[in-house]
């Protein structure tokens, strides 16, 4: 699966979308979108009037022009939605290919693998058992109940390196559509046909099962309300005009109505929603509902596991402490030689740290050098070199084996290391302790800055760890989280989430283990890892296919961006109305009250060109904003006030001014080509 976005306007997608846009004109479908539905009704009306005028031999060019551009307005709106869906459909197609029509080997009795029967994947029921061997595709979502196998999950995750799946423990979940590459396993099916992870994923990226999110519904109501308000304003204008001795034609009133109602945001609203989900999918995160994405934007508290999210989760060399009379370079060099044969990540980290900090290159192992391997008994490893015997190991073990105490000054340093939750390793040469290596769980680079950013966005970060308070506090301080839960048991997480929620905060967390499931279910945003257990994946409302818990942060940003895009385009759309009034109102009434020409501040050529220009602008602006709707407006992690100021300036003031320019330009073009 491609993790890169399809080009914003992939030509194949555009072709398909253009077709779909026409299909979407069906009023029964459009009624879900009151603004565009109204536009369509008005378009039909104006078209009929144009036809009638043509039939009666009256001039109909202007009416036809308005009708055409009203239809364009509707089409551009449906087109925007179709483009957004098209991008998802392209992905869905590739997913569908991997699902295919698998035949499964059904095991009626899991205790007796000898009896198997062929059965189509689509007919498998929850609780059935199937046998899957190397080279076969797992027919449906399930849990491994027997055996161990390596599975290629690239169809779902895009990651081609196989992963281990085994019965029991946290790696028992398998996904339908993935390929077993070695060994064989018995899988208990956990999903009904059509309800598998892959099915959900296809539905999600296609936007088929898309439900309006709460904020989208609220916005829809606002837009519908404004549509009614302007409908009232335009319909009643008939009475006002009649008193004033003028009778604006239905076509002109239709043009006024359509330009006033918020067609821009109305036309782009669903595209924005679909594109938001698409952004998430592209990010390899799958949400079970749009509601979850929206909730992500609202999150107040982020619960993050220390290991793997905040820290790398394995100990690495972080410092060398020298015994009295030894230079740091000496101990560093000794540590490097003692670790030459150590292939563990810890050993490698000592070499790279020494190189990075002291510029010491690991020497080529000379002939006659003899590695001393680590054993659980001695807890010491090292290297016998021609120039001496190098050893490293647990402090007490090494001291005992050498039969000498740790120098007092060094002991203090070692104590300090232990207190902060790190691990000291003693290093000796020829029976003399030279110093110690500090091995510690390293906070990921850049994570501190991320937390600062989150804080600016108004989100508190909480670190969850099984470490003792002291260790937890040290790492929390280093990472810059706002709070931490030490010695955390699964119940503690759940309690913490409930407490925050009772105080009215929204909580997001990531997790993978079965014992994370209750907390994932309780959290407002629960991001489960694809590598996690089936229980965790079902409890969360999002799954990260890359199994990277730090993605929570990006998920929050995507959720916010989704809302901001809607808000910004709504503001833009409404702000546009001012200019449209200035274009259309003088055009309608200038014959009655010539003085109203003063309102024609844009200096539009004629009443007809003014009305047509406003309608054309109104249609074109939808297309012009499609890329923005699909990409989402730029999001910076500023405070709420700064963000509002920025967006009001760009989309509010911009929305006020842009149509003045746009309508004027269109008017000039219309005048040049002689339409007006």
């Amino acid at each position: 699966m491609q993790t890169s976005a399809p080009a914003l306007f992939d030509s194949a997608i555009i072709r398909q979308a253009s077709l779909d846009a026409v299909k979407k004109l069906n009023p029964a479908r459009l009624i879900r979108n009151p603004v565009i539905f109204t536009t369509e009704i008005v378009s039909i009306l104006v078209t009929l009037l144009a036809i009638r005028a043509a039939g009666a031999g009256e001039p109909y060019g202007f009416q036809l022009g308005v009708a055409a551009w009203l239809w364009m307005t509707v089409l551009f709106a449906t087109f925007a939605e179709a483009v957004a869906e098209g991008r998802g459909k392209a992905r869905a197609a590739s997913l569908r290919a991997s699902r295919g029509d698998t035949m499964a080997r059904w095991v009626p009795n899991p205790d007796d693998l000898a009896i198997v029967a062929p059965r189509a994947a689509a007919e498998l029921k929850r609780g059935d058992h199937v046998l899957v061997e190397a080279g076969e595709i797992i027919p449906s979502d399930g849990e491994v109940v027997q055996g161990i196998a390596s599975v290629n999950e690239s169809a779902v995750t895009g990651e081609s390196a196989p992963v281990i799946r085994e019965a029991g423990g946290d790696r028992s979940a398998v996904t339908g559509g993935t390929l077993v590459v070695s060994d064989r396993i018995v899988v208990r099916i956990t999903a009904e046909a059509g309800g598998t992870f892959l099915d959900r994923m296809i539905a999600m990226v296609e936007g088929a099962s898309r439900q309006k999110t709460p904020n989208e519904i609220a916005l829809d109501i606002l837009l519908a309300g404004m549509t009614i308000i302007f409908l009232i304003a335009v319909v009643t204008l008939v009475g006002f005009a009649s008193y004033s001795g003028s009778a604006p034609s239905v076509v002109v009133l239709a043009a006024l109505l359509v330009t006033l109602i918020p067609t821009t945001i109305g036309g782009l609203l669903s595209a924005i929603g679909i594109a938001g989900m698409d952004r998430l999918v592209r990010f390899n995160v799958l949400a079970t509902s749009g509601r979850a994405v929206e909730a992500a934007g609202d999150v107040d508290v982020l619960l993050l596991d220390k290991t793997g999210t905040i820290t790398f989760g394995n100990r690495q060399a972080a410092a060398f402490i020298a015994a009295p009379g030894v230079t740091e370079a000496e101990i560093a060099e000794a540590a490097v030689i003692a670790s030459l044969a150590d292939t563990t990540p810890e050993g490698r980290s000592i070499l790279s740290f020494a190189k990075e900090k002291y510029g010491i290159d690991a020497p080529v192992m000379p002939a006659g050098a003899r590695p001393v391997p680590f054993t659980a008994q001695t807890r010491i490893s090292g290297m016998d070199m021609p120039d001496g015997a190098y050893r490293k190991g647990a402090v007490d073990s090494l001291a005992a084996s050498l039969g000498q105490p740790v120098p007092t000054e060094l002991a203090a340093g070692i104590d300090r290391i232990a207190r902060t939750g790190a691990t000291p390793l003693a290093v000796a040469r020829d029976g003399r302790i030279l110093g110690a290596i500090e091995l510690k769980d390293i906070v990921k680079p850049g994570i501190r800055e991320r937390f600062v950013e989150l804080r600016r966005m108004g989100i508190r970060t909480v670190m969850v760890t099984g470490d003792n308070r002291l260790t937890a506090a040290a790492i929390a301080a280093e990472a810059g989280v706002d709070d931490f839960i030490a010695e955390a048991k699964p119940q503690d997480k759940l309690d913490y989430i409930r407490k925050q929620q009772n105080e009215g905060r929204l909580v997001a967390m990531a997790g993978d283990g079965t014992n994370d499931a209750p907390a994932l279910a309780q959290a407002d945003v629960g991001l489960a890892m694809q590598t996690g257990t089936q229980a965790a994946r079902e409890a969360g409302n999002m799954v990260d296919l890359d199994s990277d818990p730090t993605k929570l942060i990006e998920v929050v940003a995507i959720g916010k961006q989704l809302l901001i895009t809607r808000g910004a385009l709504t503001t833009f759309s409404i702000a546009n109305d001012v200019a449209k009034y200035f274009a259309i109102l003088p055009a309608i009434f200038v014959t009655q009250y010539p003085g109203l020409a003063a309102l024609n501040v844009m200096g539009l050529t004629s009443p007809q060109s003014a009305i047509l220009s406003a309608v054309i602008f109104n249609a074109l602006i939808i297309v012009a904003l499609v890329p923005l709707a699909l990409r989402g407006v730029g999001y910076a992690s500023l405070g709420a006030a700064a963000l509002l100021r920025r967006n009001l300036l760009i989309y509010g003031v911009g929305g006020l001014l842009a149509p003045f320019v746009g309508i004027k330009i269109i008017d000039i073009i219309l005048t040049l080509i002689g339409v007006a």
Binding site: A218, L222, I232, V235, L237, G239, S244, G567, Y593, L599
Partner: protein, 565 residues
């Protein structure tokens, strides 16, 4: 415009703002039932009325109590007006009010509109004025404030169903705020020359030897509550322009202060009760800002004078004086007009019908914006809170969070109800005006031809639906069509608006209050103030531009071109 004019404006507004602080504080005490030394008397009164203030009402119960109270008030007032001829204290010997007019008037006074299709000194007995109209002045005002209390409580509370007790609220507001305020102001007005007597009139023999019958009556007390409760229904036909109802510039200044002090103060009450005074100050800032801009608009237009008249030889120095008395001056007339239309009072100290087109458009537009700047007592606050919810909604989207106002999430239900409320005014105003403009029976009521006639009609329905009560007085309002349709506009403007508002209050009260975090959009800074002002202009005003273009704006350009109608 003159400097001394602006000094007057600044001083009067400044006094109103200063006075709003203690009034807001006292209103908060009333809303919280902390009556101090008055608690004993208050309890006794409520007990006698069978009210247990501790027994809260949910939003429907609160609403029903309010509706029933005004329905009963309507019946009582309608009966009084119809039976005026046989009721006591009728030294003028007036007959009963005819049915259509009595219906219109009764609706007008229970809705706090105080639209008057009659002329007080020529139609109403002292009893009708005192025991009928003035009493409803108190009760409709108290009811508005009670509703505001209910809405404020909804914001302050979390997870509750009750919004307070309507009976206790209305009784406390009347007894402990409106009545004492009206008594003090009443005596101040008497000292300034406003009559308070049961005599019907005096007959003078003028220097020219003619007889002049000078009617008066118990004016001062009714005048006080007329402004303090933003009612606006004058004792006399020309309202606060009448020398007995507005005897001096100081009296008119006091009236200005009275008609804004409760709407201003309620903002501060709101801030106090929700626990963040800045929130109240922000709302107040929006109101004061609009009042200032409106005053500037009216003052500039009126002080500039009528170019047609100037061309005919009138000195431009005094500005447009048609329909104005001399003693107030253009500055106080402008401030009075801006506040009376902004505050849903509707009293006038200058005839808006004779304003220059743009000078008249400002009060018209101010009412159309929803009567929230500062709006009527209570209704102004709950009205502006509806706009604040919508502003927060849009702003919340723009900062990427589900919008919340004072910790209350603004969701589909609130937006739906808020839009319902916002729809009421345009539907009523534009619908009824447009209908009337094509009906000969309605057009016959217009005094002026041309765009000004359109303005007269538009203003009437705007004023009625906005529960303002002021008028482009050239309109002959006492016709069956106008009496009935304007009454409908008043009822819808008051009650159709209040129902969704109370429903929102019920829904908000039940929601928990989310603590404020750094990601929460601040709703007290200049940014929000500007945003709220913008939302009011766009959601409240944009739909009226076409009608304004054909009314005042068309009239203005015609006037510039030298056209008369």
């Amino acid at each position: 415009m003159t400097i001394i004019g602006w000094v007057q404006i600044a001083l009067v507004l400044g006094c109103a703002l200063l006075l709003a602080v203690p009034v807001g504080q006292w209103l908060a005490a009333l809303a919280n039932g902390r009556l101090g030394a008055l608690a004993g008397v208050d309890n006794a009164v409520l007990r006698a009325a069978g009210v247990d203030p501790a027994r809260g009402q949910g939003w429907q119960a609160y609403l029903m109590a309010m509706l029933a109270f005004h329905a009963a008030g309507f019946v009582l007032l309608y009966a009084m007006l119809r039976l005026q001829g046989v009721l006591p204290l009728n030294p003028q010997g007036f007959d009963g009010i005819p049915p259509y007019l009595a219906f219109n008037t009764a609706v007008s006074f229970i809705t706090n509109t105080n639209w008057q299709a009659y002329s007080g000194e020529a139609a109403m007995s002292h009893f009708s004025q005192m025991a009928g109209l003035a009493v409803q002045n108190f009760l409709s005002a108290a009811s508005g404030i009670a509703l505001a209390f209910a809405v404020i409580r909804a914001f302050a509370a979390g997870g509750v169903k009750q919004l307070g007790n309507f009976w206790a609220d209305i009784s406390r507001v009347t007894l402990w705020l409106l009545l004492p305020g009206a008594i003090i102001a009443g005596f101040l007005f008497i000292a300034m020359g406003v009559p308070q007597t049961l005599e019907a009139s005096a007959t003078a023999t003028t220097l020219g030897g003619a007889e002049q019958v000078i009617p008066f009556g118990p004016v001062a007390f009714q005048l006080a509550i007329k402004h303090f409760g933003t009612n606006g229904g004058g004792f006399f036909g020309v309202n606060s322009l009448h020398p007995f109802e507005g005897p001096s510039a100081l009296a008119t200044s006091l009236q200005i202060i009275l008609q804004v002090v409760i709407p201003f103060g309620l903002c501060l009450t709101f801030g106090r009760i929700v626990g963040d005074r800045r929130q109240g100050v922000a709302l107040l800032a929006v109101m004061v800002g609009f009042v200032l801009v409106a005053t500037l608009g009216i003052y500039a237009a009126e002080a500039g004078g009528n170019p047609l008249h100037i061309a005919a030889g009138v000195s431009p120095l005094q500005g447009n004086m048609e329909g104005k008395d001399l003693r107030f001056g253009q500055a106080l007339a402008a401030l009075f007009t801006a506040t009376t239309t902004g505050a849903s009072c509707g009293a006038v100290n200058a005839m808006i019908d004779s304003f220059t087109p743009l000078g008249g458009m400002v009060p018209l537009f101010l009412i159309q914006l929803g009567e929230v700047l500062p709006g009527g007592v209570g209704s102004g606050l709950y009205g502006i809170l509806i706009f604040a919810l919508l502003a927060v909604f849009v702003a919340g989207l723009m900062v990427g969070r589900t919008p919340e106002y004072l910790g209350k999430k603004v969701q589909a239900r609130e937006v739906k109800l808020a839009m319902l409320a916002v729809l009421v005014l345009p539907a009523v105003i534009l619908g009824l005006t447009a209908t009337s403009l094509v009906l000969p029976v309605a057009i016959a009521s217009l005094q002026d031809a041309g765009p000004h006639g359109l303005s007269e009609m538009l203003y009437a329905y705007t004023s009625a639906a906005g529960n303002n009560g002021s008028a482009f007085g050239g309109l002959t309002a006492d016709t069956p069509w106008l009496n009935v349709t304007l009454a409908i506009a008043m009822v819808l403007g008051r009650f159709a608006f209040v129902i969704p508002v109370l429903a929102i209050a019920g829904s908000l009260a039940a929601k928990p209050r989310t603590p404020e975090g750094p990601g929460t959009l601040p709703t007290h800074g200049p940014l929000f103030i500007g945003l709220l002002a913008g939302v009011i202009l766009i959601l409240g005003g944009l739909q009226y531009l076409p009608s304004l273009a054909l009314g005042p704006i068309a009239e203005h350009v015609s006037m510039i071109a030298g056209t008369t109608f």
